[in-house]
């Protein structure tokens, strides 16, 4: 059996597949427990990732960060000038290189900010996912009056038992 790729599962979980692709993926997931499990994991991660984006503080000085990064790039360019031309001149800094470098630095700094941002009382907790073959009953997540949570329910038709996972922020 050809399993769905991680990209297709990710797009499917976020509702971004085309109609035909979604139909095909839906058909496959119904008959493939492995992909169904992976899909559930993607959906939970999507919830958490969405919450994390919601949690970014509003008072980040993005303008200041951008200016600092721009300044650093200029410093690098000036340093290159001071070092002087190479014996066999090669155009290192084509305009698109500068753009690419700038974009990379922006991505690095933003990623670093998100990754190293200290936990706040309202930060959603961790990547915990309920897995298994039980039927999924639904997920509720978000921030309610100061507390973040993800609540996921599953039902086992064989035993009649219900399993509920709740991930909390303190």
């Amino acid at each position: 059996m050809n399993h769905l790729s991680e990209i297709d599962l990710a797009l499917y979980s976020s509702g971004d597949l085309s109609f035909l692709q979604r139909w095909k993926a839906n058909r496959h997931v119904k008959s493939c427990a492995d992909c169904a499990r992976e899909l559930d994991a993607f959906r939970t991660i999507s919830h958490i990732a969405a919450n994390t984006r919601e949690q970014l503080p509003e008072d980040v000085a993005w303008g200041h960060l951008a200016a600092e990064m721009k300044a650093n790039i200029h410093v690098a360019l000036e340093a290159g000038k001071i070092a002087g031309p190479m014996e066999e001149p090669v155009r290192i800094w084509r305009p698109w290189h500068a753009v690419a470098a700038f974009a990379s630095v922006v991505a690095l700094v933003v990623s670093g900010f998100v990754v190293t941002k200290p936990a706040s009382p309202t930060q959603p907790v961790s990547e915990m996912t309920l897995v298994g073959s039980d039927a999924r009953l639904g997920t509720v997540s978000g921030n309610v009056e100061g507390g973040s949570f993800v609540r996921q329910r599953r039902f086992n038709p064989e035993t009649g038992e219900q399993t509920t996972l709740i991930v909390y922020a303190q």
Partner: protein, 366 residues
């Protein structure tokens, strides 16, 4: 762009699993509080694995605990606290197994199947610790530290189970087996025709472009201690932004917690039973308040299909009073709005798999 961002985040978080290794048993710990009504007979971590995924360690926790009920009462639910020390500072989770039926002296398995991602770098102590947060018995008595407020959730689920079992028994006794059969068919049709939705509670966006204002319909249960009324929301696609719902505590007791249930109708006329959203709004007797102000409710279908909201109905789905007692809606008028409980699904599942006679025999046990 949004798609690329989502995919990038998901892939960076999910990554590609590399060489999986069995988790060391010394990395996993189970603890029970003194006087616990359950005893740990065995713990099997055999299927648990760890693997590296980028800068994180993925722990696929696949454990089976074998416990014995050492109390004189029947156990209906158990909640475990799960700590993974550096998942996130202060991180904690709970895993609740409900709709159990374990008599005194009986042993029972509890499977804990979780996937955890944690940053690399091993702190001292076990990788994961599982400890008992609470046990609920069939008489609604409770044992445990209740650090995660698991008592309320288990009590609500047990009350729903008792309510639905009582309902089916009542139908059988009052109207006979044919009526019970029709009740099962109606329940199965509701489970099929009114699918659930995922809900995400988010901060409302600053602007409400392309949103239209709708009045929320409110479903009242005659005995509800908290009345909901006068609601509105800005609807945009699958989002209900700035939902405003007025509530009033009609009882003589203070309310410390409640949940609001949601029923959606889409543009095609299909109805959905979305889940319940918690509200920590505290209400003194006769006090009024607005709930969910400043938030946005994002609804999504489990298969990711797009959803366009036409109308929304809300109702108070559970209330916890300051003294710890709980109210849930009864199965009267408006019970169509109630999602099938685990017990209702268990009973209807017996009907579909084993037939009406088996269901009748099952109901006689209670």
């Amino acid at each position: 762009m949004r798609n690329s961002f989502s995919v990038a985040i998901l892939l960076s978080m999910a990554g590609i699993l590399t060489a999986q290794q069995p988790a060391s048993t010394s990395s996993l710990k189970v603890s029970l509080p003194p006087g616990s009504p359950v005893a740990l007979l065995d713990s099997d971590w055999g299927q648990s694995t760890t693997s590296q995924r980028g800068g994180a360690t993925v722990l696929n926790l696949n454990s089976s605990l074998t416990l014995r009920n050492t109390s004189p009462n029947r156990i209906r639910a158990v909640t475990w606290m799960v700590f993974s020390q550096e998942v996130t500072p202060g991180g904690r989770a709970s895993v609740t197994k409900s709709n159990l039926s374990v008599g005194p002296g009986e042993s029972f398995p509890v499977r804990v199947e979780l996937r955890l991602l944690r940053p690399m770098g091993r702190p001292a102590g076990p990788l994961v610790e599982i400890s008992l947060d609470g046990v609920l018995f069939d008489d609604l008595s409770f044992f445990g530290p209740n650090k995660l407020d698991s008592r309320r959730m288990m009590t609500v689920e047990e009350m729903e189970a008792q309510r639905d079992r009582r309902w089916f028994k009542q139908v059988l006794e009052a109207r006979g087996e044919e009526a019970l059969k029709q009740e099962c068919i109606a329940s199965l049709a509701k489970q099929r025709d009114m699918p659930g939705l995922d809900i995400q509670v988010a901060r409302a966006p600053a602007t409400n472009t392309a949103a239209r204002t709708v009045q929320l319909s409110v479903l009242q249960f005659p005995d509800a201690p908290v009345e909901a009324f006068n609601g509105s929301a800005q609807i945009a696609g699958a989002e209900a932004r700035q939902p405003m719902l007025q509530v009033m505590n009609r009882s003589q007791q203070s309310v410390r917690y409640m949940e609001l249930g949601w029923i959606l109708k889409d543009l095609r006329g299909r109805e959905y039973l979305a889940g319940s959203v918690p509200s920590a709004t505290k209400l003194a007797p006769k006090q009024k308040a607005s709930v969910l102000a400043g938030s946005a409710l994002k609804f999504s279908e489990p298969d990711g299909a797009p959803l366009s909201i036409e109308s929304i109905t809300s109702f108070v789905s559970q209330v916890e009073f300051a003294n710890g007692t709980v109210w849930i809606p009864g199965r009267t008028s408006g019970s169509k709005a109630l999602a099938a409980s685990a017990e209702e699904m268990r009973l209807t599942n017996i009907y579909t798999r084993k037939g009406l006679k088996a269901l009748v025999e099952e109901l006689k046990k209670f």
